[in-house]
Subunit: 358 residues, 2 copies
């Protein structure tokens, strides 16, 4: 099978590596950045480097467009124009509406979005196993040719991902809710806190763990996020509108001073989170263990090693140093009732205070 | 010095332990829950257990009211009524406006709020060193007697905390911004996501790390948080209003599709977060190291142990398991340029991919 990869960064490079290793495919590459293209060849991500889209897609049966979000419609258009009738073209953009509006009428195009690869960027981080077990959304339309859709989803499954078809609009809305809106809220929260502190001429010596967690992604990767917000602007703005409506209700409820109603609202949120987070964890419901520890080098190691020796996996972890940085708390998230109980005993035997998070 | 502690949970119990150990004080205790009171005596948190506020405060020079937020004004009122002219009365509530409105006209009352102790609850978790290095806000008014204020702040400093005077209203606004608003946003976000998924009849197999972090506190400790939202309702509602205004601006900006302006807005948020978070870290600017790892028991231990051996402290950590749970990324937050570079080399020598977070 001959495959073309247009754009050889982290995602394109990883597709190339995986396709060569697992599909035994011949991979032709194109990238407007010649240096990057040569590096991709050196790293074995592509078999051949080409100066143009047309040259790269020669005889290809499947074309992956892996350019930045804003450049995707143009490069995919160019690929479709140059490609033959029997060639499938797909992309990897994290927003799908615009590219489907532009190209969805062409039966050879299938929009795609792998949920992988945000951790590092650049072809240097490319790996053949990047997509192992990862959800890979595909957004076929009523025009999509069945045989070409099948070719795309088969290739994706064979390189280790889990393809799932979804409407482009639904995809964009869910991404707006689950990923884009949290980034917007984090941005608003840090800006508001910075403004409040400066207005009050106060210097809060420590922001709490809730603030740290809530704002961890504030301002992350501005180049990528500018494009995502612009590309998914309608869905993101509409999710912001919905959040505003919910916040207005929350403000009204809190202002009412009806403690029982406020508590019930708060409890429902806790239930929602458990539902959302637990669905992604195999092995049972997720338990939080709060451990009080001295804040010294090695303490995390000691606990993690003890659990590791006992075969207990830590699904998630958060550190909460105390104000003076000499002590603090660690939250360990453990899946499964039995596992959590074992972890609790093990940590207690190490001499630490442990309590269950609520 | 004779001290009375009214309410012997985590905070009251820790005040008792610290006052006995560090101020050589005689500590009298009262709690409406007799069992809890006896347990506090057993644990050495109080010297004597009393059946009434009046009995506990007999001859006391300093009274700590450590009841739940909603019960504080009443118990502090009772203490003031029964106490002599030369006795200082303070509280530990996380919201200050109501208690100051009720009692601020009495020159013997000083509002207080230690930023400590959220991790565990109950007298079983009480420790003499709970307040070591912790900020402890005090909210004197123009009526407060100087000598009594001085007695409170000296005792607080002597049990290890760092007292700081602040206007009650400013305190409540800053707590609303830094702590209460993040909880509201987390609640709204999970509810919105749960609604979106159910409306779209979709099951997102994995919520992203940004969603997990942003919603970690959703619905936490409903009993406590119902009281906090009710007690600080004006400030919280007004911070929600401000967040709504900022979100409206963000929605407008994003809807405009002006990528450069969106990117600039996003970058400013990143700057704000760095300023806010870095001020609390001694030892220089905070660096994020993203490490790709196999997701197996012991992997966190291996890395943390290596850094611990080399004396590099991990300020914060977050785990991001990949979709299939067989691999993932760890973010390590290290303070100081040199420390971060050392950590980077050490982790790389262990054979892991490392990149700097942006």
């Amino acid at each position: 099978m001959k495959i073309a990869v247009l754009g050889v960064g982290l995602i394109g490079g990883s597709i190339g590596l995986a396709a060569r290793a697992r599909l035994d495919a011949e991979v032709a590459g194109f990238d407007p950045d010649r240096e990057l293209l040569d590096r991709a060849a050196e790293l074995g991500a592509i078999d051949s480097a080409h100066d143009s889209v047309a040259a790269a897609i020669q005889d290809a049966e499947l074309i992956f467009c892996a350019a930045p979000v804003m450049a995707l419609p143009a490069i995919a258009r160019e690929a479709l124009d140059a490609a033959g009738e029997g060639c499938a073209v797909t992309d990897v953009g994290s927003v799908k509406r615009d590219v489907i509006a532009a190209l969805g009428s062409d039966g050879r195009f299938v929009g795609g979005h792998p949920l992988a690869g945000a951790e590092t960027s650049g072809v240097e981080g490319a790996r053949a196993d990047l997509f192992d077990g990862a959800r890979w959304y595909l957004t076929p339309t009523s025009n999509t040719q069945g045989v070409l859709y099948d070719r795309v989803q088969r290739a994706i499954a064979d390189i280790g991902a889990r393809p799932q078809a979804i409407e482009a609009e639904t995809h964009d809305r869910l991404m707006a809710t689950i990923s884009h809106l949290p980034h917007v809220l984090a941005n608003v929260l840090v800006t508001q806190a910075a403004t409040a502190l400066s207005e009050e001429s106060e210097h809060l010596p420590e922001v709490g763990p809730s603030f740290r967690d809530a704002t961890r992604v504030a301002g992350a990767n501005p180049a990528i996020w500018g494009d995502i917000f612009a590309g998914n602007r309608e869905a993101v703005a509409s999710e912001i509108d919905a959040a505003i409506a919910r916040l207005s209700e929350a403000a009204e409820l809190i202002r009412s001073g009806e403690t029982d109603a406020v508590t019930a609202w708060h409890e429902r949120a806790g239930d929602h989170r458990r539902e959302l987070v637990e669905t992604e964890i195999a092995g049972g419901p997720l338990h939080e263990l709060r451990v009080r520890v001295p804040n010294r080098p090695g303490i995390v190691a000691e606990i993690a090693l003890e659990l590791g020796r006992a075969g207990v996996n830590i699904e998630d972890m958060a550190l909460y140093p105390a104000a003076d940085m000499t002590s603090g708390a660690i939250s360990l998230y453990i899946a499964g009732n039995d596992e959590a109980s074992r972890a609790e005993s093990l940590v207690r035997e190490l001499g630490h205070d442990v309590s269950r998070g609520e």
